[in-house]
């Protein structure tokens, strides 16, 4: 069993597997909904291509065709045939296909989906709450882990502005609207990492509000969830210990939670297992110790307007101790 841990390597593997550019592509579906939409998309695309070519050919004939061809084209029949009969026939077909896909989705979402994950759009990151092995809430952030082959129901919320949750490889997008709960069923069909992004303009750092989706085999997922539900690991080295002390002395717990310590605030992302995530700052940075250090001191340049103040008071030594501690929270 490969332990899904360190971001960089796994990401590299994922990129290699999906041809480098497909992690956020709707054209490489690996979820049930995306897979049902895909053929509808391609059908409509090909219909569109044929229609466009047809128009081009007819225009070409109308412009340059022989006289009798042109004379035949120049009548009311073309308008009625091409403008009414033809579209009605083609569009009826497409429409029925579209309704079938919609109805399939509706049925799936009514029947399937155990194990709920609640995702809340924040400014500008994602709070992800799983229900743990014993039904307890397991708070995480900026990453969605899915068991392959099992439908999971996502509850999408927002307590600020409107966001839209979109993981193109798995499914279409659905908005997160204050005052409403939107539900969507996600089912990954094969293991792997893909990427998603906020699709509804939400002000400020909208462009930097992304996340990773990690689909894992069921057993692996269960093990991961078990681990994720545990409290944070204690520091193991003196540097990590120093990092932890700095973390508390500088008030990081005012906004962040590290379960198992007195840091219990949920204003910012939960950091209990931040070291094992694939990214920092809602996929703004890859996850490594240097990135932690950069983020702490310089987050307003990396992700302008984000709600975390910059902590520029640390020396290099202090920064690397802090980074070492955070990185150790796997």
């Amino acid at each position: 069993m490969i332990r899904v841990g360190r971001g960089g390597l796994l990401l590299a593997l994922a990129f290699a597997a999906t041809g480098c550019s497909g992690v956020q592509s709707a054209l490489s579906p690996s979820g049930v909904e995306a897979l049902t939409i895909d053929p509808l998309f391609w059908t409509s695309t090909w219909v569109g291509v044929v229609v466009t070519l047809m128009v081009v050919v007819v225009v070409a004939i109308a412009l340059y065709g022989p006289k009798d061809w042109r004379a035949r084209l120049g009548g009311n029949w073309l308008v009625v045939g091409g403008g009414i009969v033809f579209p009605v026939v083609v569009l009826t077909g497409l429409f029925i296909y579209g309704l079938l896909v919609m109805q399939a989705g509706a049925l799936r979402s009514q029947e399937a989906g155990e194990g709920t994950v609640t995702i809340t759009g924040k400014l500008w990151w994602w709070e992800v709450i799983y229900s743990g092995p014993n039904g307890e809430e397991v708070v995480s952030a900026n990453e969605l882990r899915l068991p392959v082959g099992r439908a999971v129901r996502l509850r999408l919320l927002s307590d600020n502005v409107i966001h839209s949750f979109w993981a193109p490889q798995i499914a279409g997008k659905l908005d997160m609207i204050p005052g409403r709960v939107n539900e969507v069923v996600f089912e990954a069909t094969k293991p792997g990492v893909s990427r998603g992004q906020c699709a509804e303009y939400c002000g400020g750092a909208h462009a930097l509000m992304s996340f990773y989706v990690v689909a894992m085999e069921e057993a692996e997922y269960a093990a991961w969830l078990q681990r994720e539900a545990q409290p944070a690991r204690e520091p193991a080295t003196p540097e990590e210990t120093r990092g932890r002390d700095l973390f508390f002395a500088n008030g990081c717990g005012a906004c962040h939670q590290v379960r198992g310590t007195e840091a219990r605030s949920l204003i910012g992302p939960d950091l209990t297992h931040v070291g094992s995530r694939l990214s920092l700052g809602a996929a703004a940075l890859e996850n490594d110790p240097q990135a932690f250090a950069r983020w702490i001191a310089d987050n307003q340049h990396i992700k302008p307007e984000n709600l975390m103040p910059p902590f520029r008071q640390f020396s290099d030594e202090e920064l690397s101790a802090l980074a070492a501690y955070l990185d150790s929270l796997e």
Partner: protein, 383 residues
């Protein structure tokens, strides 16, 4: 009746242009010749004086329109705070009820007027404007920190009381009582710690006396690193204050070190006079200070402002509510922005509403300075 007609606008215009050009040329020649005497020893013509005074009076009156005095202008404590600055910053040139004008300053032209009757001559808002902005070509400087209106008002509050003041009252008011003269009230690099601290205490209070005004917070028991940083920031002009900047600038690095150590170790001063805080406000403030307000993105104050956290985060327990509220609004408006720490505090302060600021300030003010140990955020959530 033929006078050749009325001159057309063209000829009027060209005539005017010629006159203007001629005047300009003559004026230029006069300036370049160096004939004008700029000596401070020679007086203006009466007419020049008249024009200058009229211009000054009109300018002050017009420019001070729309300025609103604060409601606590008649607060005696405010006047006392102003009096202390007056003794140091103004009296050397303007004289005071107990000191005479410095003979050098007396030879300035125009000579700095005594201010005993300034409040009769000018309105409060006009005084405010003059103190804040200074006057061109007179040697009257602008306030060192233009962002700190509340400090300027302190001085105005004092000037408002000055006309009725005798020498003795003044000495008591400005803390220059006894045999000390105003010139003794300056720091010098070689001054002993006790004297320096006495200076600080004259506003910030000491073991016996409370601070003269809430804007000058009690310092005893404050964290050493924070005090050191605060003084260095004042000295370097990174934390704007017309009162503190000149004070801190006069201190050398070793004095700053010593003063910070002194206060960090000092036994706690008696609480300020204004602890009649609204209990409801303090309770609301406590909720914010202990647990923060997640939905507004406001973290718990005590996560940082507690005894065991970094020495750079000031202790807030027992600080006057006015002081805390003023500092928070300075963070909000971007005045306190000169350090890495203000970069942390400013965005958080901006998320606080006016009411929330008052609540939090009431909460901290109501606590006694010794409460701060052992409770960081969340630990007394049930309190």
């Amino acid at each position: 009746m033929s006078w050749g007609g009325v001159p057309g606008w063209r000829s009027i215009a060209s005539g005017a242009a010629i006159v203007l050009l001629g005047a300009g040329l003559l004026g230029g020649a006069f300036i370049l010749s160096g004939l004008y005497n700029v000596a401070a020893s020679s007086n203006h013509f009466d007419i020049t004086n008249f024009i200058i005074r009229l211009t000054l009076a009109r300018s002050v009156e017009t420019r001070s329109m729309g300025i609103e005095p604060p409601p606590d202008l008649s607060d005696e404590r405010l006047a006392r705070l102003g009096a202390r600055h007056f003794a140091l910053g103004c009296a050397p040139c303007h004289a005071s009820p107990s000191t005479s004008q410095n003979p050098i300053a007396a030879k300035m032209y125009p000579a700095p007027p005594p201010l005993s009757h300034a409040a009769e001559e000018w309105d409060a808002e006009e005084l405010f404007w003059i103190v804040k902005h200074g006057l061109k070509f007179t040697g009257m400087p602008a306030w060192p920190a233009l962002e700190r209106d509340e400090e300027v008002w302190a001085l105005v509050a004092f000037l408002e009381r000055l006309p009725e003041m005798e020498g003795r009252d003044y000495a008591e008011f400005s803390g220059t009582g006894g045999e000390r003269s105003a010139s003794a009230l300056t720091f010098a690099p070689d001054r002993a710690l006790e004297e320096t601290v006495e200076m600080c205490g004259s506003c910030h209070g000491d073991a016996r006396n409370p601070p003269v005004h809430p804007l000058a917070p009690p310092l005893a028991g404050q964290k050493e690193a924070y005090l050191r940083r605060a003084l260095s920031e004042y000295a370097a002009g990174r934390r704007p204050s017309g009162i503190m900047e000149p004070m801190a600038a006069a201190l050398g690095p070793s004095q700053i070190e010593a003063v910070a150590q002194h206060y960090a170790r000092a036994s706690l001063s008696p609480p300020g006079t204004s602890v009649d805080a609204d209990a409801d406000a303090a309770a609301r403030g406590q909720a914010i200070a202990m647990n923060g307000l997640g939905e507004d993105g406001i973290p718990a104050c005590r996560s940082c402002h507690a005894a065991e956290t970094s020495g750079q985060f000031p202790r807030l327990d027992g600080l006057p509510a006015e002081y805390i509220a003023t500092q928070l609004s300075l963070f909000q408006s971007g005045v306190r922005a000169g350090s890495a720490y203000s970069a942390i505090m400013a965005p958080i302060a901006r998320r606080l509403s006016k009411e929330q600021i008052e609540d939090v300030a009431a909460y901290f003010a109501a606590r006694s300075p010794g409460d701060g140990t052992g409770d960081t955020a969340g630990s007394e959530a049930s309190q």
